[in-house]
Symmetry: C2
Subunit: 205 residues, 2 copies
């Protein structure tokens, strides 16, 4: 599993001419890193003197961020696996009409999964931002920079994953599915940029 | 070493209440991931049919990106080690005037190193962007999304690292050093945002 690789090894594999892991898995990794940083700030706050009032809230954020971290770490593998299924489908035989039909259906099904995985990554990465906002507002100020890097990583993870959704949508034939998901993608793209801006401005003041 | 940890283990350690690894090491990781993606696009281009004209350029980019990847991966550890030295200096005895002086000098020296490490990360991450621009313009279009995620990760790595420079500058007493590095930080912040914008706009058209 990619997530159990050493960092050096995982990055070497990314850099190689194999198409996976690529931008999709890296977006998931960025999201998992963002979750880790938010979790860290919450953990550096809860139970500390001077932060008694927010200790319970920080414990709850720490637990939520840990779930995002685990889910996004799993997505490093899920994204590459989904791409592998698309490649497998493209390699199916296409000598007869029946084979052509089966291959085409398998490709479409695989492409949909390859869109759904980064869509889930984008949603999770977006979900980290409100947690990040709270730890930046109420958490240990010594860890402010860690929280800020978390915000930027969550935004990049979201946009990177949405880019991967788009590229798969481009080959999907189901027009109503493509229209629906494209609208979601656009909405999330606007939302994440605005959320990051609001959090960064709110933190400076 | 952090860079030899499994991804899951490294992210768990980031999430823990230990102050390192934190935003500095994650910024270095983001830069290393960006370099990996650019290297991958170059490797997916060189030697391919239809890309004969750019094969040599792609080989050169692949080699340069690999060096950035290795240096930025090393910086995951260097950043956390630099923070450790600051903490060590703060723990020095301060009972006599001589001890107070030695401690203060050690703290200042450690803070400067803790600023220099992320400054080098920011410079390397920024250096990835022109390579990314070239692979996006001339490279294998099948890997376009990977290149775009690389651009976003390089920008985030730069801004994240510069945030870590700033936080250390805030405690450094050498006014002329702080003024000089602050000016560099501001210049790089403006530059990276502009470069990312130019590349993304240039890629869409």
């Amino acid at each position: 599993m990619l997530k159990e690789m050493r960092i050096t090894e995982f990055l070497e594999k990314t850099a190689s001419k194999d198409p996976v892991p690529g931008g999709g898995s890296i977006s998931a990794l960025a999201g998992a890193a963002a979750a880790s940083l938010v979790e860290m700030v919450a953990n550096l706050t809860r139970g500390r003197k001077g932060f008694e009032d927010v200790s319970e809230e920080m414990e709850s954020i720490s637990r939520k961020a840990a779930r995002y971290r685990e889910r996004l770490t799993d997505a490093i593998d899920a994204d590459s696996a989904a791409y592998g299924k698309v490649m497998d489908a493209f390699r199916m035989p296409r000598d007869t009409d029946a084979e052509k039909g089966a291959r085409s259906r398998a490709i479409q099904e695989a492409l949909r999964l390859a869109a759904e995985v980064p869509l889930a990554v984008a949603k999770d990465a977006l979900g980290i931002l409100p947690l990040a906002e709270t730890v930046l507002k109420k958490g240990n100020p010594n860890a402010l920079t860690d929280g800020l890097v978390g915000v930027m990583m969550a935004k990049t993870a979201t946009l990177g994953a949405l880019n991967n959704v788009r590229i798969n949508l481009a080959s999907i034939n189901d027009v109503s599915y493509v229209a629906r998901v494209s609208a979601d993608v656009r909405e999330m793209e606007v939302l994440v940029v605005q959320m990051e801006k609001d959090i960064l401005v709110g933190t400076q003041s």
